[in-house]
Amino acid sequence: MSNLWSRIVLGLLCLALVCCSLRAEPGAPIDDSAVLAGVIDHYIGAGYAAKKAAPAPLADDAEFMRRVTLDLAGRIPRNSDVRKFLADKSPDKRRQLVGDLLESPHYVNHMTRVWRALLLPQGNNPQVQALAPAMEAWLRKRFNNNAAYDRMVRELLTTNVVQTQAMRQALANGGPVDASGVAFFQANDLKPENLAAATSRLFLGVKLECAQCHDHPFAKWSRKQFWEYAAFFSGVGPQMAGQTSGDDQGFIPAADAAHRHDIKMPGSGAVVQARFLDGKQPAWKEDATTRAELAAWMTAPDNPFFARAAVNRVWAHLFGVGLIDPADDLREDNPPSHPDLLDALAKAFVANHYDLKFLIRAITASKTYQLTSAVDGPADDPRLFARMSVKGLTAEQLYDSLALATGFETGDAPDPNGAVNGTVGSGGARAEFLAKFSNVADKRTETQTSILQALSLMNGRITADAVSLSRSKALAGVLDSPFMDDHQKLDALYLCALSRPMRASEAERMVKYVKSGGPSGDSRKALADVFWVLLNSSEFIFNH
């Protein structure tokens, strides 16, 4: 494509995008998200051209389905759904699949967990664990209603922190906990400086915390700016100053001086007034609390950080690598890989009322997202997005996928609190598994595996039961099927575990092994061996 031509196309695309988002006729033929997908492919394509890189081919249906199901529903697809999807001849079945996934309860569960982990990264800490169900319930409500992202953040920032009494009682009695964002504040120890660091990182994509202690010669943010921002949280604090350990439930009874907006900088003792990061002064109003002022500034359509940080986070969720990477570290010396694309996504996100599902529909509809991850030859820069990166699964994704592949459990346990965080000593196979597989890597392209994790996957009870001739569910179903030959049985196992049929290149080796029956000459045992291999393969353990 010539440069001129590509500019014209892009102009048309952008025009269409703006028109669509302004137009509100029912049944409009053009889907905004499809247009935005074209914009994505345009900018990413320009990146290939600049670096003389060639994009990978598109992923086949099975690869796409597994990937997008893990990304949106937090687990692999059911094998019956894979068969249906592969047989489906309709041209827009990928878009249809995304639509179905976004409306499934698994989307709500998965997003709740993803955001719980973002908001409460201290999740291993028992105090925070006690609070996590309230946070999850709060998130669940919002993802269930597809709450607009700006509204969600405003609500979190303006959470009433002095509502802990009922929660304390609920926690003490082990009863269900009310949905509340208070856990976010408690997890940050009710300290303005911690809240400042967390909110700027999460919602603005900037790391202020390094400026907490001193000015850095090359960083944009000064120490004074950090504390001016922290002053927006200066009203939040423990009821009794100096008490920091809390009670058994991890609660420090909170106080909130809702209109306070100054803070003393440690060391110098200078008192600074709350000021926005863009240097503007808040126009204090009597009826707006300090945190409400911050929330209004942060989520205003012209905020230079907010929408960019949000779209980048969703991008990083789907690609494993952000346009800004690390996702929460926008600075002058860490520019986005595709700045124009980031701007276009942010604009479209704002124009579509901060609708996360819209954004997901657009990105997953792009060719860029649909590229295969499997390419011969050396790795190129993952930030070119010339192929899909391999992403590690969260402990929850892995457990729920194992459950589905092996049939030992139906995936999501119906827990009203959604209390799914793995706790040592809290019992249950799931909690035990989650504790062993918890992985704090921020970048899912760089997750690591421990020896105990590997041993557990190879020899642990879950795998042993899954491939046992007497105790397995999925395997038994295949073994005992009278109408399948070895090839078909193998196909069925591949569909269960890898969400794809066996490839011709694999069939020869595997069929031969099963026919021979392996070392004991027992083809049932040999099929169990193959199932074990599939469950232990990188292809199963990763999202690719």
Binding site: N125, A441, Q448, S537, S538, I541
Partner: protein, 448 residues
Amino acid sequence: MHHLSRRDWLKLSAAGVVTTSLSGWLGTLAADTAANPQRKRSCILLWMNGGPSQMDTFDLKPGHTNGGPFRAIDTSAPGLRISEHLPNLARHGHRMAVVRGMSTKEADHGRATFVMRTGYNPTGPIQYPGIGSLVSKELGPTDAPLPNCVAIAPYRFFNPAAYGPGFLGPQYAPLIVGDNAQLRQPGQPNQQAEEDYGKLLRVQDVDAPEEVGQAHADARLNLLQEMESDFVGRHPGVAPRSHQTAYDRAVRLMRTTAAKAFNLDEEPSAVRDAYGRSLFGQGCLLARRLVERGVPFVEVTLAGDNGAGWDTHAQNFDVVRLLSQVLDPAWGTLMGDLEVRGLLDSTLIVWMGEFGRTPKINPQQGRDHYPTAWSTVLAGGGIRGGQAVGKTSPDGMEVVERPTSVPDFLATVCLALGIDPLKQNVSNVGRPIRIADKAATPIQEVLA
């Protein structure tokens, strides 16, 4: 020798008889070890879950109302006196430095556990690694047949994150054996109780299930390897490579004879008796076997029968006496064993809990949480033994000499191991974090 009773063994070893008779074959090994300048140091952490009472172990105040009933006894180091319930250990006083000026801030089990084990407060999004992961990253080769960091019978309930590798990632995670095994000790009245301590301390899932059989287990690994080389060839990247490495190391552990380190049945019965037939005693024996095989960091938890044994809010003296009787033979024998093998000079032993206990005795004859003034012990490699550093007031309420903070202490541990405490690792938020906070002042006077 295996028919010797524990009493006989103790008598003999006290008299030096056993040492002499063992030196025939141990001597060579000891000489080899000592002669090898390449030998890296190891660290054994003895973790006292619940917060041990300093006033009844290493900083006694006989005669003071806060002192309690225990007497102090002499150790092999002139002037260094410890509890009468630690007689075996007392023979190794010249290799021990008691840090009596510990002064920390956290009095909550969870937070204090985190701070003592990571050196940092548990705040913000930074996932601080535990000391074991930090140390083993510095000291351990990446291709060793055994894991570089092993945690024996930890009881992690107070703060699971304090035992994790944090931002260093799972490749530096401790291999845990006997997780929460306190609750499954032999004789415990529950369904999961084991009949033998050795079984509790095996590596979980290290063997393929019996029903599979060796031939099929091997066939599986061969099939898997073919499948993996296909996948990794077409999917380069950090995550798949790390996964590959973990599987390689796990398979090596399954197949290597080095994994026999975990088989305590290989030890003569008299040796097992000498360490004490307790979870902690057998754990210390396992620690010795691992250090012998070059594992750079091993920790053993002493947590009593309920997991928080040292949390003696009531009946402090009865409980501390019983725990001392578990601690003493285990630790004392460990010191002796390491010395005989020539490993004591390269093995640092650290004794600590999350905090100390109130000098004042409460109405339940207990002592409560007290971080203001308490004790830890450093022994063996890299340590100038035979001394106490720091001092508490006569009532034990405050540190009057050489107060030692958590960073001070952990920096000292690093230096004793030959590690630069100021070394930085890149954290999960991208910011470099030093192993020990740079404000740390190491206790130079205990370093050899």
